[in-house]
Assembly symmetry: C2
């Protein structure tokens, strides 16, 4: 039995306690300053309020003030914050990490450096380590399709852990692999993490077609808006050819972006790209956003309807479009991405550039 | 205005009358010996009984006995038979074709030659031309995601026409492209047609996960079985991580098979592969078959429940697995395909080899 410390008690971070517990580890779940209610609840009776379930018994919840204690003796640290928490993690957590203890990040995103560069989180975190720890902590990250509820429910789930060092990846995999949590590994961090970030952007793109079809059903009343795109809900207007065309265009653009960043573009058509895109289209906030936009609702209004939930898709579309522009890339190679950027950031109407798709 | 002659009055063949009519062509729809009822109905009042719609006014229906007349003056011939009709087409139609008139085939499949070879239909048809026509007729084929009902309903649809000659492809595209029917072109026939065939196999594979989840809902009564997987119907047990893992594994195996056959494996992650797989998973007989098998129903019984509809998935899985074995390919590289083959052809239980997936 080892100790696994998860920092960030959001849904995905907390769900990682499932496979860790299954492997017999003691799990320490540390809340960020935004997670206080969650931590109080887990401390009280183990119940995680947003996952709406009781976490495994071996989970002990810690407040952020107890971070040092939570890290003491841990053999694996999981960074469970969203991309919006990565600066906080860098400042509050990185300096406290222990030399030699690997970190696995579930954070998905790419950071643009203003100069057209796009950096994956494992590399960003490594570069932000304080001097004394520089080079002593291997950072890994998770890509691939994984709905957190399903992971906790022990559904068969296949993901890809990436990092620079294969033997560390194998060690981290051994900590977490179970009979239902299947872990592939890859040293192509840019391909896996590029896809992990981009799939959020493109899930919004595919969902535009859901909204365009839904618009034909008639005006949207508030009750419909809330029910729109609940996981497993029937499509109000099932139309799939346009979604499929957008899905394919998404894979093509992901491939080009990953290649541009030096990764193996082929992965865009496999687990980290197409696989993760598939699952992301089936539910959650990104699909809801895309569907609302596809219905013709401006982003400013759609954002309000989504009650200010964090929208990774918006961040990644904006950042990647900006980076591609800075690099002088030809927008013709990324027509869907630039159209999404125009919808979100310049109030453009949804008008898909069908005839600019393809190679 | 030109004349487009479609041979085979099934759903997809007949739906091609939509874009042809939109381009101002006269359309001649010729029934095979199996299409007599359809042709009689279209001759009577334009109504296509299986598409459940009235075809465009410019469509004239012909019985097979009038094939010569239907081909006279045609500038494009569309081969609209299913893979099970390709031998009939070769014998009854090929000898009657006119030199120089291009053929576009919507038939999806690969033919195994018994020696491990797998041939795409455009190449098969070209090789079967009678001596006097040999080399005088360019064969093209259609890949990519296209549900026939949606095409007829003028939904945005993006497909890929493939053939050996780019200028012929451009000519054929000009015959059929509309504001909603978007046509990409490719001279990589093996990649496009390989994916077009294989996506039927793998749509059954992904659907196994739908059935495995559905099994948990309880026993299947006959009414449920009929409703199972109707397009747009809600999932009775929405679980997506396993589907996504199978989707990704499908793309990976399609890539390997296409590469083995000399095509660009990257297309397996784009429109002809991932895009077409996406749409095929959303409905139709292949999804129903996979779902029934995933529920634990043996193939012999599932086939009866599907009332003997033609099952392209069964043919392609069987043929490709056989060809790979003959070639001495390592089954470890195609674990999903060989598992599907075992389910269909050796009565194996559904037991997905999760840990053999990936590269």
């Amino acid at each position: 039995m080892s100790i696994v410390t998860i920092i960030g008690a959001g849904m995905m971070g907390s769900a990682m306690s499932g496979p860790a517990a299954e492997n017999g580890h003691a799990v320490r779940l540390v809340g960020t300053p935004l997670d206080r209610e969650i931590i109080e609840s887990v401390q009280k009776n183990g119940f995680h309020p947003t996952l709406r379930t009781v976490l495994p018994e071996v989970v002990t919840a810690y407040r952020i003030e107890d971070l040092d204690r939570a890290l003491d003796g841990a053999e694996l640290v999981i960074c469970g914050v969203s991309s919006f928490g990565i600066d906080w993690f860098s400042e509050a957590v990185l300096p406290k990490l222990h030399s030699g203890v690997p970190v696995l990040s579930i954070t998905k995103g790419l950071v643009d450096g203003g100069d057209g560069s796009l950096t994956a989180f494992p590399h960003l975190l490594a570069s932000r380590l304080p001097e004394k720890l520089r080079g002593t902590i291997p950072f890994q990250a998770v890509g691939g399709p994984c709905i957190c509820f399903e992971l906790l429910a022990r559904r068969h789930t296949t993901v890809c852990f990436c990092g620079d060092n294969r033997s560390v990846l194998e060690k981290v995999r051994a900590f977490l692999a179970t009979s239902y949590y299947h872990i592939q590994i890859s040293t192509d961090v840019m391909a896996v993490e590029g896809c992990a970030a981009l799939k959020n952007a493109y899930a919004m793109g595919v969902s535009l077609a859901v909204g365009l079809a839904d618009r034909e059903i008639g005006p949207l009343n508030p009750a419909d808006a809330a029910a729109l795109c609940a996981p497993g809900a029937p499509d109000r207007n099932p139309v799939y050819n346009p979604q499929a065309a957008l899905f394919a265009q998404s894979c093509l653009e992901m491939r080009r972006i990953v290649e541009l960043l030096g990764g193996d573009g082929g992965r865009a058509g496999e687990l980290p790209g197409a696989g993760d895109l598939y699952v992301t289209i089936f539910g959650g906030r990104t699909r809801r956003l895309g569907t609302l936009l596809g219905r013709g609702i401006p982003f400013s209004e759609a954002r309000k309807m989504l009650n200010g939930v964090t929208l990774e898709a918006v961040a990644i579309i904006t950042r990647v479009a900006r980076a591609l522009r800075t690099r002088g890339e030809d927008p013709k190679n990324y027509p869907l991405l630039f159209h999404m950027d125009a919808i979100l950031n310049r109030g453009a109407q949804v008008e898909l550039p069908w005839d600019r798709f393809g190679c």
